[in-house]
């Protein structure tokens, strides 16, 4: 349904954009209807940039984005508006997603004004009621309220409802639960799962591996703008092949296992030293070999890998691709 082919994004820096910084580097992926694909990466990995490009909030530097067979990367005006009828997004910060001076209804009203102007009041209300039901929101509790009166979970649900008012086919969910409280976030996540069963394609962007693992069918691991490993979620998590993926997995805090105590995550030392060696906690020096701070690594890496295309991913098993190691 949605596919990205060799999509790159560079940002201009310096005098009149003389230098550029490659935020997304030759990324290709596809999402099928009824499928949740999670895009996992640390800050600066370009995951949100990809989401924004799909939503056409940022232009694509090179490559193409195809939705239901049509290249949407150059759409403007009417065509873009028609695209938004089918493709929508929800973002990380629910409080910033609403205009604080209006009631939350405003977000819905905008959609109605732009897309559903021909709907009668009654029809609109009927549709709204059914959509709110889908996202498990009690209309009376939520409508007419200001954003700060509602919980993050309610707000995010309402945003999903807003998207559902349209003929939604594809949803970009960019870190939509990372700012929610633990007690409510799982319900929003479950909602995404329910939507997928209705045939929706979902790109779930997150930095939290356990969430990605929980909800998605396929997983893409991103680092410094490039895909390092992707494939069916079970395969990527069950058989991580790229050292970076392994390093990430080993650093995930688990509820029922302490770091280093989980034997299945044992990974061989990673060449290049970009992932930490495993050591018993509490022993002296354990932290001295910790991961180099992301910011510093990023600077170095980027300058090294800016030009040229990356080497293609290698398919190591069915639906499981890994970037060759050695070049980052």
């Amino acid at each position: 349904m949605l596919r990205l082919d060799h999509v790159s994004k560079s940002f201009g820096l310096g005098a009149f954009g003389s230098r550029s910084f490659l935020a997304v580097d030759d990324v290709s992926l596809r999402v099928a209807p009824g499928e949740v694909v999670s895009l996992i990466g640390e800050s600066g990995s370009g995951k949100s940039t990809i989401g924004k490009m799909i939503l056409r909030l940022l232009p694509v530097s090179s490559g193409s984005i195809t939705f239901q067979g049509e290249d949407v990367s150059t759409h403007t005006g009417k065509a873009l508006k028609a695209y938004y009828r089918r493709v929508q997004g929800v973002f990380q910060d629910p409080f910033s997603s609403y205009n604080p001076i209006f009631t939350v209804d405003h977000a819905l009203d905008l959609v109605r004004r732009e897309y559903l102007g021909d709907l009668s009041g009654q029809e609109w209300r009927r549709r709204l009621t059914s959509v709110l039901e889908t996202v498990s929101i009690n209309a009376g509790e939520v409508l007419g309220k200001y954003p700060h009166q509602l919980s993050g979970g309610q707000l995010q649900r309402l945003l999903i409802a807003r998207a559902l008012m349209l003929d939604l086919r594809f949803l970009v969910a960019d870190e939509i639960i990372s700012m929610l409280d633990a007690s409510t976030r799982i319900d929003v996540l479950n909602l995404l799962g329910d939507l997928k069963t209705r045939g929706l394609g979902i790109l779930f962007i997150t930095h939290d591996l356990s969430l990605g693992n929980y909800i998605s069918d396929r997983t893409v691991i991103l680092r410094h703008g490039a895909v390092v490993e992707m494939g069916a979620t079970g395969l990527v998590f069950g058989n991580p092949c790229h050292p970076y993926t392994r390093a990430l997995l080993s650093a995930v805090p688990q509820l029922h296992a302490r770091w280093g105590a989980a034997p299945e995550q044992q990974a061989p030392p990673v060449p290049g030293g970009s992932a930490p060696g495993r050591q018993a906690p509490g022993t002296p020096g354990a932290t001295t070999t910790a991961v180099p701070p992301a910011g510093l690594v990023a600077t170095v890496e980027r300058s090294r890998t800016a030009p040229g295309r990356r080497a293609a991913l290698v398919e190591i098993e069915d639906d499981h691709f890994v970037a060759p190691t050695g070049n980052g």
């Binding site: 633990a182 929980y214 995930v252 688990q254 001295t288 992301a294």
Partner: protein, 315 residues
């Protein structure tokens, strides 16, 4: 009995009245203990952490006491309190990214700070460098401006600064939430390391992320709506919690390996009550699946098993 907190109450002043953000908390932390403090936003965990350091103009000290190694902290006298800060109680704030003066080099900042506290910088700077190296930082950072460091580096520098004078109590407020997984781990491990090396005696780690607490804390206290609801060793909280809130909270957390298709988790319905005028009785009552008539009465926070306290009639 290093840190002893008794019925501490600190409210926020607002136009509509006091918000009872911290409405009576009692607990003790032993020397060398890392206590995790967890709960939803607005549960009072940050207020608690903050009160131990400084009660500012927007907050109101209502009652209770805190004693450190047997000596009471002058919570309601900020001038007197200032003498204890840094040396006895110290803070790694949640805003570590912006905690350092952006226009001062880090070395200068520390020197200024030490001088202002009447400590000759030379006596401490050597140790400062050593500890920087311990957390994996080069001493070059002394000559750098905060902006030149990455988030994880800043977080660690702030940690080293805050613990430089070996305080008896360190409050680490949401120190991992803004970090990436890998950096998060390094920082968490550093907290443990600092304790192991005796840089700090007792530590309170405040976070909303239970799984990170599991990695570093010796004991965990869960708060809800301004009050502690459960306190036990980390293992006890994870494996045999007594309070329904804790249990529901734990069950809503996905872990690597748990998948939607196979095992559908669920959250806790409803929202915490307003602290402006909290209802009497158990504050979790409205959301609690086990609630019964008695819950209209406030359950006491009592020991339900050795080293395990909870505030629930059914605990």
């Amino acid at each position: 009995m290093s840190v002893q907190v008794k019925d501490l109450k600190v409210y926020y002043r607002t136009l509509r009245g006091d918000v009872r953000a911290l409405d009576g908390a009692s607990f003790t932390i032993a020397d060398g203990e890392i206590m995790g403090l967890a709960g939803e936003s607005g549960c009072g965990k940050s207020t608690l952490g903050r009160s131990l350091i400084a009660i500012d103009g927007r907050m109101r000290y209502v009652g209770g006491s805190v004693s450190l190694d047997g000596a009471a902290l002058p919570l309601d006298d900020q001038a007197a309190m200032a003498r204890h800060r840094f040396t006895a109680v110290s803070l790694v704030p949640q805003y570590a990214m912006s905690a350092m003066n952006p226009t001062r080099k880090i070395g200068k900042l520390v020197t200024d700070l030490l001088r202002s506290r009447g400590i000759a910088p030379d006596t401490v700077l050597g140790e400062f460098r050593r500890r920087l190296e311990l957390v994996g930082l080069s001493t070059d950072v002394l000559a750098r401006y905060p902006i030149e460091l990455s988030g994880g580096m800043k977080q660690r520098v702030v940690m080293v600064i805050s613990t430089l004078l070996d305080p008896s109590l360190l409050v680490a407020d949401e120190i991992t939430s803004a970090l990436d997984v890998s950096t998060q781990k390094a920082v968490a491990e550093a907290v443990v390391e600092f304790r192991d090396r005796g840089f700090v005696a007792s530590t309170i780690v405040i976070t909303h992320d239970l799984s990170i607490l599991v990695q570093m804390a010796d004991s965990i206290m869960i708060m809800y709506a301004g009050k502690p609801v459960e306190r036990a060793s980390t293992d006890a909280v994870v494996s045999s919690s007594r309070h329904p809130y804790t249990r529901l909270l734990l069950s809503s957390l996905p872990e690597v390996g748990v998948r939607y298709e196979e095992h559908r988790l669920s959250g806790i319905a409803g929202r915490p009550p307003s602290l402006l005028n909290p209802p009497p009785g158990c504050r979790f009552r409205d959301r609690c699946p086990l609630a019964f008539a008695k819950c209209a009465e406030e359950p006491p926070f009592v020991e339900v098993a050795p080293g395990h306290s909870a505030a629930c009639w059914k605990a």
